[in-house]
Symmetry: C2
Subunit: 321 residues, 2 copies
């Protein structure tokens, strides 16, 4: 093990699991661990789980650890490392996560919103390397966003910028958890997507390969299965993907018309729908965005995949963003 290479610990604080890794400055994961978040037990227990996860990867003293980077849900004051009201971590209110971990491990700790951390990860190690400005979209249970402008994260007045999931595409649309109506998340967030496709397949006579792939049990439906059906040239699966492109196209055309940024990096579980979804999103944006922007629109898949959270979090330590 070279003693000259620098390392950081990346922590991906999720609602279910906390993933921790030792990552080299070049983006290679050399150790990793996962512990349950135990979110329901409140902040003290979650924090002790974070310490436990970090403890699992640091016994090896050969690594020159420069700091700990944490991607956390919620609105983050990065200067102070304060996490505020993370949606899937009950009872948190305001937690001084940075201070707590700095005292415990005696290294620099950087806390950032998880979608922003993913965007920085793609910027430093992944699909965003060659772009000055791009928007990172994570498609999962929620639809997250991180805005990179001139190789820096754009955080807004209070660190809450980039909430791409809560762009309205129909002001008369369904109510969203956030209180707004017709947010893009209520069309293509994982649960909404599965509900929409299940209902259509249950109530209409589409002849779709999806039914075989779930053994006629729609409770087994996942985005991956829609993707598998699309690979088998299933017409209905393709129609679902192009509708997703239409919905996302409407939301992201608004984003491009506001920001004049035309590159999108698509990640997250639902992005497992792969190349057809990437193409559908690109077409959806091009169809709607202002003509002067249209030819510049470029949509690419994220590169970090499963390790996006840990790698992105570790990059916070090295990258001056």
């Amino acid at each position: 093990m070279s003693t000259k290479e620098k390392y950081a610990i990346g922590v991906d604080l999720g609602g279910t699991n906390i993933k921790v890794g030792i990552v080299s400055e070049a983006g290679e994961i050399v150790e990793k661990a996962s512990v349950p978040t135990l979110a329901e037990d409140g902040p003290e227990i979650v924090i002790s789980q974070i310490k436990k996860g970090i403890g699992k990867v640091i016994p090896d003293k050969n690594f020159d650890i420069k700091g700990i980077g944490i991607g956390s849900p919620g609105v983050i004051s990065i200067e102070k490392g304060i996490v505020e009201n993370p949606p899937n971590l009950p009872g948190w209110g305001k937690v001084m996560l940075g201070d707590i971990l700095e005292k415990e491990f005696n290294v620099k700790v950087v806390v950032e919103n998880d979608a922003n951390a993913a965007a920085i990860g793609e910027l430093v190690f992944g699909a965003g390397k060659n772009f000055d400005s791009f928007i990172m979209i994570t498609l999962g249970t929620g639809v997250g966003g991180g805005i990179i402008l001139n190789k820096k994260i754009y955080r807004g007045d209070f660190g809450a910028a980039g909430e791409i999931g809560h762009i309205t595409i129909d002001y008369k649309g369904n109510r969203c958890n956030c209180g707004n109506y017709g947010c893009i998340e209520t069309y293509i967030g994982n649960n909404y997507l599965i509900k929409w496709v299940s209902e259509e397949l249950a109530n209409t006579s589409y002849d779709s390969k999806i039914m075989e792939l779930v053994d006629n049990d729609l409770d087994r439906l996942t985005p991956k299965i829609i993707s598998d059906a699309a690979d088998l040239k299933d017409e209905y699966a393709h129609s679902v993907i192009s509708k997703m492109g239409l919905y996302l196209g409407a939301a992201l055309a608004s984003v491009s018309n506001i920001l004049d940024v035309s590159t999108y990096v698509i990640g997250g579980g639902v992005s497992g729908l792969g190349e057809p979804l990437i193409k559908a999103i690109e077409n959806g944006i091009k169809d709607r965005v202002l003509k002067s922007l249209s030819s510049r629109v470029k949509v690419v898949p994220a590169m970090l995949r499963n390790d996006a959270g840990v790698k992105g979090a570790s990059s916070l330590v090295f990258y001056n963003y």
Copy 2:
């Protein structure tokens, strides 16, 4: 006349008229003139009209003129002073407006998009003075926008940012001139607004004071008349204003959720609807924006009014934005 005060010439290049003024660094207009644009006659004639307008205000040699600022429609390359495809100026393509006027008048010339110039005018002289970041919205035939972040204009990758009018609020909505569907402009742009209200009043039995104010001739309807009816406590006029607030609220909640900017300055002709419209927009945004932002939302009227274009353009010369 103090010889110490500095002055700039502001040029507001509109589709119908070119307004020109000599403006002090403190924002006082000391000379002004207006000439017809003659847009239909093409770029050469329009440029000679601009020169003519400027010629009308500069004979007085007592003013120390530091430069010429121009607010123009279209996408602008500010470094080079190039105007590209201004929507209401046929035949322009790309015009090197900055170079042409620098050669003619031998002073610094700054060309900027008209909505951005209005935003900078409000930042320097008007309602934006006390804010670091705000979004300027101009309500008129079109719905324009200028984004101020940390006291600088945000122009995007190619100077096309801030196209607030082309945010979709219903992806299945009416086709917009831009090619997209359900843009906010197709709900509250001047002509759409007048059409909507005229049709409702013609086809339904609303008992509205608007009918008296237009002498039963709906061809006379203007935003000002809707405003006058609202002042007379006309229920229908108020319902129109709150609907405008609902539509704009949906569009601007998306903007705030993306940018985490919560202050809006509202100007332009349609904003003559006054305080009730300002309140309706503020309520519309608060109803929809993410909870963490809601209490910070502030909507204020523009202060520069009729001289916004000329003052905003003049400020380009002095303000390092």
